[in-house]
Symmetry: C2
Subunit: 337 residues, 2 copies
């Protein structure tokens, strides 16, 4: 059953545990254009049969303006107009770019998402942040605009590679760290293999994580306060991700590790080791060697940066994220240790 | 004195009859980046002294994604962040592109406009439509997002070439046709030379036209109804503009002429000749030869088009625009005559 969640200017219909074709029932079938990537298209070709479909190259490297240009050219060829609904089927790259294109094509058309990755299901598809990268700068261009619908079809996870499970669990561990100590305990008691094998537990975990994200965004859509907490691990993570060609999960896992250490230094946080162990149970990297000065240079362009400081997300305790302004000089010092 | 006008989600501060530097007083001076074009920059260099300034090539041909890409690269170089205000100084191309970049850079930063053309002052800068062209398709990509402020400094008009006066009066005549019979009478009684010479009359006329546009946009920001009337002359106009490399004013002047003829055919409108004469008094083209089939092909991609018809703006009488759905087949027939 579709559930409706209100955001400040619009609403999004969610279908948890639905089927792919429920999306087509929701919209005017002949006015749909699907946007997906090569991996998803090849794994689920039959679902796109007889549909207008734009297939982009897979991966963060293609979350760029050239891909947007190509999609727009194809939309014009398809004679897509303001009655058209764009449906993004894929991970965070596909949904970020679909939402962005939908927000600017003809000054905005309707759009919905069918996330196909754990990361997409629990995080990237939710909250209306759309956009693309510019060089090494993640999500430098974009907007905030909520999709009309998000449909969860867990059967799509069958084709998901292990790498993508790791990626998704980075965001799940993030949610637990900043908002939900009980979920953190559950995660500690299991590991990635358990969830890959146990569909029901995974479905429950995904739903619980989507609920956390929805609630945070409903309270603070335009990231004036609480939504900033979702950037836990992302400030350093984004500075490393494109520079070292890490997956998003790997990058923010390293970012969370250092954010825990910084939380220890600044707030006396005592559970870095627990977080590090849990990340490792989900096959994620933790400590890493990187060029601190180079990372700082990118970080200073982060959207959360001000003139000489950045709003950093730290942990007071497990389940309780907080925002602290950290001066660049202090941060460089910390990262150089 | 600044006046504040509310739109559905935001407000815009207007300063009619202000001075360029009043804009800098309004914002945090060190966080400003000006965006202008080569013509405006060369004519008013002293105003941009010691300011962060991005200078783009002048003209509609550069209202494209490549220009957006270049501006974003320069904003990153300037370390522009979410505290930055972008100020677009120029005609419609500069303000459309400044508003668009400001709406997507870091998912949105503040922006204001200092229009330097008649068209910018009475029309393009007002109403929050931002965006760029894609090939021959005008404003195919963009969004609706209101500027924080619009400042009128009429002294900037001193450097305005005659071509730009003609351009601007096309939109002024449009406003009179759809909304203001009294203004149409005034326009009939004068010509372009009168207004070029008479600063006070021009200032009054600009203010009256800005007021018409503001009022229409306040009532219908997202163009569900009345705002559509502002497209009078624009449907055919846009189909001709980039294809025949016309100025915007020339294109919509031809568009208005044919819209009057179509109004005669569809609604018995009787004053085509008066409109045509008035356009001519302001040195604008009226009847033109063009390839009707080619125009129709572009027109079918117009944002106001549906599957087999387009919402066309017609005149019931001078000062009273109306919206009528015209089938493509009928329109082709009319344009082929």
């Amino acid at each position: 059953m579709w559930q409706t969640f209100n955001f400040s200017k619009s609403k999004t219909h969610f279908l948890f545990n639905g089927k792919f074709n429920d999306a087509i029932k929701l919209v005017n079938k002949k006015d749909v254009v699907f946007i997906t990537d090569e991996n998803v298209f090849n794994a689920h070709q039959i679902k796109f049969k007889n549909q207008n479909c734009i297939v982009i190259k897979a991966g963060e490297a293609f979350k760029i303006q050239q891909t947007v240009d190509a999609i727009i050219d194809q939309l014009i060829e398809f004679k897509a107009n303001r009655q058209t609904t764009l449906i993004g089927v894929g991970g965070g790259v596909v949904t970020d770019i679909t939402g962005y294109v939908a927000s600017i094509y003809m000054r905005g058309v309707a759009f919905g998402f069918i996330p196909t990755t754990i990361l997409g299901l629990v995080d990237a598809s939710i909250g209306g942040k759309n956009g693309i990268d510019v060089g090494v700068y993640k999500n430098m261009v974009g907007n905030i605009n909520q999709p009309n619908f998000i449909l969860h079809d867990y059967s799509l996870l069958q084709s998901l590679p292990i790498k993508e499970w790791q990626n998704g669990f980075a965001e799940i561990i993030k949610h637990a760290c900043i908002k939900d100590a009980a979920m953190f305990n559950t995660l500690q008691q299991h590991d990635i293999d358990f969830f890959i094998k146990n569909k029901k537990a995974t479905a429950q975990l995904i739903h619980a994580n989507a609920a956390i994200k929805i609630k945070v965004v409903q309270k603070d859509e335009f990231e004036k306060g609480d939504r900033k907490l979702l950037n836990f691990g992302h400030t350093l993570g984004h500075a490393l991700e494109n520079q070292y060609e890490l997956s998003h999960g790997e990058a923010i896992s390293i970012g969370m590790t250092y954010a825990c250490e910084l939380s220890h230094q600044e707030l006396g946080f005592k559970h870095t080791q627990q977080v590090v162990n849990t990340l490792a149970q989900y096959q994620l990297p933790t400590y890493a060697s990187f060029n601190a000065k180079k990372a700082m240079k990118i970080l200073q362009h982060d959207k959360k940066s001000e003139e000489d400081a950045v709003n950093y997300i730290l942990l007071q305790k497990i389940g309780k994220g907080v925002i602290r302004k950290i001066e660049f000089a202090k941060l460089l010092d910390f990262l150089s240790k």
